[in-house]
Symmetry: C2
Subunit: 237 residues, 2 copies
Amino acid sequence: MTETMSDSAIRPRKEFGKTIAADITHRLREEIIACGLAPGEPLRFDVLRERFGVSFTTLREALTALTAEGLVDAQEQRGYRVAPVSRQDLVEVTDARVLIEVELIRRAIERGNDDWEIAVISTLHRLKRIEQRDPEHPLRDPEWKIAHRQFHQALVSACGSATLLAIRAELFDRAERYRHLSANFRPRPRDKAGEHQAIMQAAISRNSDLAVQLIETHIRSTADNVATYAAHLLDTE
Amino acid sequence: MTETMSDSAIRPRKEFGKTIAADITHRLREEIIACGLAPGEPLRFDVLRERFGVSFTTLREALTALTAEGLVDAQEQRGYRVAPVSRQDLVEVTDARVLIEVELIRRAIERGNDDWEIAVISTLHRLKRIEQRDPEHPLRDPEWKIAHRQFHQALVSACGSATLLAIRAELFDRAERYRHLSANFRPRPRDKAGEHQAIMQAAISRNSDLAVQLIETHIRSTADNVATYAAHLLDTE
DNA sequence: CCGAGCCATATTTTCGAAAATCATACCGTT
DNA sequence: AACGGTATGATTTTCGAAAATATGGCTCGG
């Protein structure tokens, strides 16, 4: 409010109790997922230092963390680059997601209590509200992205395993990057709203088999879409 | 050759083409898995700096990587500590391992070629040789640990998914720490040699269902053992 | 003209000091 | 004696310089 624009806009502002490194990790992650940093692009320290206004050390810590998440590729003694994309990697991420998400949905439906139901219903509600606002290009709306992420997160949140939830979140991020990759070339989003609605209903009515089937279809058809419309980005070289 | 003993013995000697940070990450990982650094123990920079002879920055990078692997716990602004153990965490790791390893064994049996069979047979052979040497306390023998790890790795290596193999490796490490935790209190190792032999035979003869069942039993019974003999370490506070 | 070896430059990696933050003990007040 | 606030020491976090390593161009010999 009272600060100058130039400073507050450029300088990384860390939230209370958080380290700058954690903040940079978060910002870099978002930028890589959104393909603001292109797959395979070298991540040079000088450039990043300029862009984020932090030191080597802090950047290195962030890049190390993102390397573990599969979003950055470390080439020892030769720096880092954005993790490249490939058809093979897309298939692997999709398969892994199906394997894990299907299991987590089952467990969540089995164990979910009232709070879980409320979380599923309310996150879907918010998602639909945002979609009404701008039904054409949801992926370009940061709010839609967050709401979408939170809905899928809510669905499995009651699974009871923090370990598997962490793995799931990582795979979700990696998949989301592929969605962004094809977003610019996709003619028109298919009926995601309807799919989400159906998944919610199956989950709340504790219809495990149906929910599992819907989720698997949801994940695989999204991946197929990416493979189709981002083909020219996946087959290169 | 020409260097003084004191230096070459204490200083971390990095292998060709590797960074010191990667080396320290590896050494710290091994030490945490072996419970040389006890679960929950604070990881103070001064102490580690003394012990490994490296700087803050390098340590921080290693600790960041291990945090992502679930072996270290980061408390923002309050440093790091060895990831604590708990009965809940043991259950989660075990469940996740069963879910993933069962799937990978299926895929490996389906896709494995001659090289895969050879790898499975030869890694088991080496494991048995080492067991003959010191059948009492295999976990205390670093060579046994490596051979054991390589046998299980070989079993699933042909699954075709680097993504799932990486996740599996991480869970394997976390589980191995629990095995070490109980190793000192376990009366006597059960017949692991027989189990490994049976798993190998089921895999090579492409008997998927049997291999899956044996692997699941292998993983779960190991975890049960830990839960029993390390109970006093899991229930505290 | 081509290729191997070497020098100069660009870039990463590592370091220890300085700044920021947290934990603890102390003091004064109620 | 209990409580709140503050000063002090311990520890983490961040920084930019220095060392180590890779990259690209150049020369020289074949």
